[in-house]
Symmetry: C2
Subunit: 430 residues, 2 copies
């Protein structure tokens, strides 16, 4: 058997500990599958003395992670530090600059600097791999880059943030408010103390920008993602959606047409007949629509030590098996640069939740605003208490361009008919 | 750009036509992704004059497919002839024997001769690839061989035959009998004139043997698959299952423990909360349970020209991108040889449908047989007409070893309590 592949591991949090545990537990199987052993040579983390439940005394320790890139006993650096810039980026540049392979779970770094790193990897003939950056152990990067490579991709979308899906699932199952579930999730460690990356859709947007680059053979364009999180979802929305036959999910969605790339993260109504509606709790799922393969659906645990370590080590096995392939499915120079699509030109059906005063004439005024903006209504529910002393009016529009819906909502907001800002969500109609 | 990868295509049915159409439609994208063009040089099929809707005059024609292997203008042979032996196997041997890559969609050939072909591929340093052999365009071969490679796999199972799933879905949706749906499916071309490969579970067994070899790093063992099809599923079973909260699906399931490999294709009751229950019509789905990744779920169209061509061309792109990897994830010599597990030692809950005479004492007799075999009953429904002048008694057992259930059914069959053979199905409890 060939020499083992030797790893320098930067970052020993949950995922780093999971990688060490996996390489220990499945060492023999991995050596059979990779054709050679995969062993850790050296590690680095912020705090050497923190208890981690795995024996690190076998490995060399370096205080400065960047040193891993220069060590003679390291063939591949695994970067699990996190953060789009700072030490993670310094280490990534140093590793690829020395023509060593880099495996990373860092979606923020890839979303912001992926193309620079891809260029550097190509220039040095080094592998840059990142299966763990999107959807945990689900092999969706490989699925797009290789499995669906024969297809023109028409659309890629999915549930990319487990924290948001966990919150929405519990809001539905237990009838709780967003704030109550978030507080409980934080107390139990399922959500970060500062949850804004998750619940404002930034984490999902990082992942979506990576998926859409692979899907459309395009330059990663994180700045072009319109991101809206789940803070505005009220438990009344979940009830109304259920009445109408939908579940509310935070969906990241990308499509490309006419030289324009449409990328959006937003809570939307998913029909119960769609497989995404049945993705519950902390699971993730990705749908890839190919012009020949049809609709491919991947789901599984999207985070956590085991699933993420599974993806990291899958990348290591790929590296052990053979020579480097382009990180984004083709050389960076061959990727397309799309324009960003105008979000408001997107057409579809929309869910509207309006908080209105309970007085005569309000419905007539609202529906007049919609009519004047060319928006027609498919169904309307008025029921329950709307808070702020008003009632909720919930509507589903017919197929219409988003710009018209926004115009109608602007008219309503300018009038005194609404007691609270309106809530608008897309309906997933495919 | 490097020289194009040149294909010899054997078999010009639905899938062969789809491959030509895909290579035409996405030629530019494929060349970007593969780093070189992929072009057809020569083709072969039984009937040169059959209309196929694609222009074949650009390609060289050979009457004997085996000649494709020897042509100087062919780098890779795509075998779409079908059949476990005969011309497909002759061509496969000739291709790999000349150190040329082989891409095949032929599950029957792989189930019977995969290891021989894998050995031949290794000996000659040639690629043997077969993504299209299982689950159409869903990249599940790649998902197992590479995506989940870091995991000890505890179980792999799924819906592997679209024809059976289509029949079961229509039986449920329209309340039709098995025979009625089958006849209609045959009339519409969804089922073969001789449907036994599909409906007796042989096709699913071929696919399962390939999946389980990859999952457990074991020698493909088609002979070790216990296969039972869907002929015995009555529409009353579908009704009763629905009452109990289940859908009936033809599931192929494999697990390995204690040096024994358990492989079975059988109709079973899938709880509505399980994602397999929502796989409808001609879709396929595969679940891979990894010790670190958790439960990974893949679904999509499992057959047809587009999806199958997508998988064939994904293999071609892999070959164009880089050197050959072992066909079964590691050299054939490194694969484990398991013993075949005893099917009757499998434990779980069971669904029983008994057709009994409508007279006093029958239930007492039946339940006594169950008691004497150590089988206890979780729930029991007696309702409706059982045909053969009797009534149906439907039971769900508690968790029990299959041998005991079979013993109880043998006792019942030996008595005169049953008016028709009993129906037993497993309940998918994970």
């Amino acid at each position: 058997m060939t020499n083992p592949l030797r790893i320098g591991l930067a970052g020993l949090g949950t995922v780093g500990g999971g990688v060490v545990a996996l390489l220990d537990a499945n060492a023999e199987l991995i050596a059979r599958r990779a054709g050679r052993g995969i062993v850790v040579s050296a590690v680095s983390a912020r705090d050497r003395n923190r208890g981690r439940g795995v024996d690190l005394s076998r490995f060399a320790w370096v205080d400065d992670a960047t040193e891993l890139a220069g060590r003679d006993d390291v063939d591949v650096v695994v970067e699990l530090i996190g953060g789009s810039d700072g030490p993670a980026l310094t280490l990534a540049r140093a590793t690829l600059g020395r023509a060593k392979a880099l495996v990373t779970a860092n979606k923020a770094m890839l979303a912001h600097h992926g193309l620079e790193l891809g260029d550097l990897a190509e220039a040095n003939g080094a592998a840059l791999k990142y299966e763990a950056a999107v959807a945990g152990g689900i092999p969706v990067i490989k699925g797009l880059r290789e499995g669906a490579a024969a297809n023109g991709i028409t659309r890629v979308y999915g549930i990319l943030n487990g924290t948001c899906n966990y919150i929405l699932t519990r809001m539905e199952a237990e009838g709780l408010s967003f704030g109550a579930v978030l507080a409980d999730a934080q107390a139990q460690g399922y959500a970060e103390a500062d949850p804004s990356f998750d619940i404002d859709g930034i984490d999902a947007a990082h992942k979506l920008s990576i998926l859409s680059g692979l899907a459309f053979a395009s330059r990663i364009d994180f700045a072009g993602v319109a991101a809206e999180g789940v803070r505005a979802v009220d438990s009344a929305d979940i009830d109304h959606a259920a009445t109408l036959g939908y579940r509310i999910k935070l969906v990241g969605l990308a499509s490309a047409a006419d030289g324009k790339l449409f990328q959006r993260v937003h809570p939307c109504l998913v029909p119960l007949a769609h497989p995404l509606a049945h993705v519950e709790g902390a699971l993730n799922a990705v749908v890839v629509e190919g012009d020949f393969a049809g609709r491919l659906f991947f789901s599984g645990p999207g985070a956590g030590a085991g699933p993420t370590a599974s993806a990291v080590v899958a990348d290591l096995i790929d590296i052990a098996r053979g020579p480097a392939q382009p990180a984004f499915g083709m050389p960076v120079a061959a990727l397309t640069q799309f324009e960003t699509a105008d979000q408001a030109s997107h057409a579809g059906r929309f869910y509207l939740r309006l908080t209105v005063a309970d007085r005569p004439g309000v419905l007539a005024a609202l529906t007049a605003h919609l009519r004047d903006s060319g928006v027609s209504i498919e169904s309307l529910i008025q029921r329950g208490h709307g808070g702020s002393g008003g009632v909720f009016v919930v509507m589903v529009t017919h197929h219409v361009v988003e710009r018209q819906v926004r115009a109608a909502l602007d008219r309503m907001t300018a009038s005194d008919d609404l007691l609270a800002p309106p809530m608008m969500m897309h309906i997933l109609d495919f």
